[in-house]
Amino acid sequence: MTTRSRYLIAFASILLLGTFISPIWKIDIEAPQYPEGMGLYIWINKITGEGPNDLNTLNGLNHYIGMKTIDENSIPELTYMPLIIMVLAAAGLLIAWKGNKKLVLAMIIVIVLLGIAGIYDFYMWEYDYGHNLNPNAPIKVPGMSYQPPLLGSKQLLNINATSLPWIGSLFIGASLMIMAITYFLELKAARSAK
């Protein structure tokens, strides 16, 4: 691998750490009573509200339909996601140092697989959150579940929820892109060398 490629891989690896400084997903919430809007940010290590009290308020509202309280301590992903990111970043730096092209491909595959697994896990969490309702909830609408959308908008009673990847995910995407481009450039260079 060229020095430039190694620098690119190192840079891409460090980009992964961007997930520590910005959320990876955002769920926007609109309701007639909330003209000012509310929102939830999903980080690799925490869940926060868009406004300082949004999480608290949403938890308060959700008890009417029997949804569980969003409690960071009950979401183990928030503990191991940061570890995974750190391990990936370290591995990437190691690969850059070693300069092994095949390992770059392996890294790309691992990130893509982990990404798919992560999205699936998020979906399952949303499913559980929206379906596993307290039977004593004051408001029960027959046949209604409250799973937030994974991507795009969904009307849930009076609430319109819009779910979109956020800047943290863009960091991962950019990292993946740089790694892929570097890999293909290397591949091309190797072919023309032959």
Partner: protein, 650 residues
Amino acid sequence: MKKRILFFAVSLLTLPVIFLTGCGKSSSALDTGDAAQKVYVNPGEYDEFYSFMSGGFSGQVSVYGIPSGRLFKVIPVFSQNPETGYGYSEETKAMLNTSHGFIPWDDAHHPSLSQTDGLSNGKWLFINANNTPRIARIDLKDFETAEIIEIPNSAGNHGSPFTTENSEYVVASTRFSVPIPNADVDIKSYKENFKGTISFVKVNPESGKMNLEFQIIAPGLNYDLARAGKGPSHGWAFFTSYNSEQANTLLEINASKNDKDFIAAINWKKAEEYLKAGKAKDMPADYYHNYVDEKTRVAKSENLKTVKVLDPKDCPGMIYFLPTPKSPHGVDVDPTGEYIVAGGKLATVIPVHSFSKMLKAIEEKKFDGDVQGIPVLKYAEINAGEVQNPGLGPLHTEFDDKGYAYTSAFISSEVVKWKLGTWEVVDRIPVYYSIGHLMVMGGDTKKPFGKYLVALNKITKDRYLPTGPMLTQSAQLIDISGDKMKLLLDFPTIGEPHYAQGIEASILKKDFMKIYENSKNGNPYATKGEKDAKVVREGNTVRVYMTAARSHFAPDNIEGIKVGDKVYFHLTNLEQDWDVPHGFAIKGMTNSELLIMPGETRTILWEPKQPGIYPFYCSDFCSALHQEMSGYARVSPAGSTVQLSYGTSK
């Protein structure tokens, strides 16, 4: 002579009424034009200005939007308000303490917005209590009363609070002279024993906290209204007075005899120097200072026992009298700070004094004798001009940004527009009816907004659908942006609106409070979470630490209360969501309900007299299950063995 004056006044009063009731309707219909468009604010959109109006005998302050004339809030200030618990709850009761004891009411006249360099800064609103002399400060972050200070050695705090250019001070003056210190004397000994005081209340520029810095003992006249100077006249304050006759009975006749009364011009910077030089005497006094503690948000009272008093005899150059025709009411300083306009309510002209001429007259000692040692300046030496034919009964003047002044005329029921400098009347518009104060947005600052004028009327008569003998009071919005004034809107007001203040909405909107933060709730009886809710007995006092959150109280079942107990409900609203107050009411409560804002703790005392079951509930429709937000308290006979228990059934 006496009879003639009375006849004159009566005929003046009735003439405009006859005239206006005759053709008021048709003229207002003709005037409409595009008025509807100018005052229409689209649903969901905002007014351009806030207007704070005094509630007069309601004791409160109301908040209106201009140009729509929509009422947003009534801020409880000097009167108890069972709607929110103000003056009833343990956290707010102390606000209404005075040296005369707890007072549930007062008469609030003149709101005054705090200023920086002669412009409203949107931090605080001050307002006077006329009956039991006090000044209140409202915090404009949460639009709640934060402080009330009593003014000792005073009676009838009318000429107040009228801020100085940087809110260094708000002022107070005695509409009624009284013996100082108060004493049991023959009323007929007025001339000998009665005095006035003019007080300067210092405002802390950071916290807004008020402190009665000093008082000036003044001759026994009726000090009426006030204004601080600005620009070149910054450092001075002007106080109108009437009753230079020093009458103590039938004032309407006996205090209306002299051709001229006085405006007291006070050099408060000089007064500060005398204060520093130790010229003030400590005088024993008895007055209350009540304020909301910043950490706990619980009102505290302190009883103060001394006040610094300056006597003009010891302080030459501190105070002068400007002779002014016929019992002047308002005194208003134009935006440049040069002209001092008096509203001689019985005068046939509006006299305008010049500040620079006043300084020159002082320097050249152009005096016309003195009153109890206070030099009286020569009228001709200080007068800048007289507005001829200004309407009958001119009271108050405000200014626009184009060099015009607007004077309210009570008897002829009109607003008169005239030009500063030429003193020429250029326009007049009838108002319905009998205007008192008027207010141009920012009209008392260095930069008025020459867009709207609000007429604050004393008589309503036939302007709205009738409601029996007692009618609403009325304000009128007048467009002053063009050469001709145009009536845009009538809107009803609470109580009696004396004066008002206007400020651009954008100043207050940028830093307003949505909630009180739970983490900053320093109330000693706050319950920070549902799991901390509890009921504690201390002798025959029972303290209920209760939380409110949509849609339940915790605890909501309480047993073990006995007849004879004093039960304090300490309600904490745990919400941190905008516009989600909770209410608390329990059957048979003899004081008031509570309205608790998000993040707030409020306490109400309940003393049940009969055993039984007493439901309590949330009185502010908070949520879909608001009707379920309720609970029961069980009251057992005195000496019963029912144990204290409480909880929420899981």
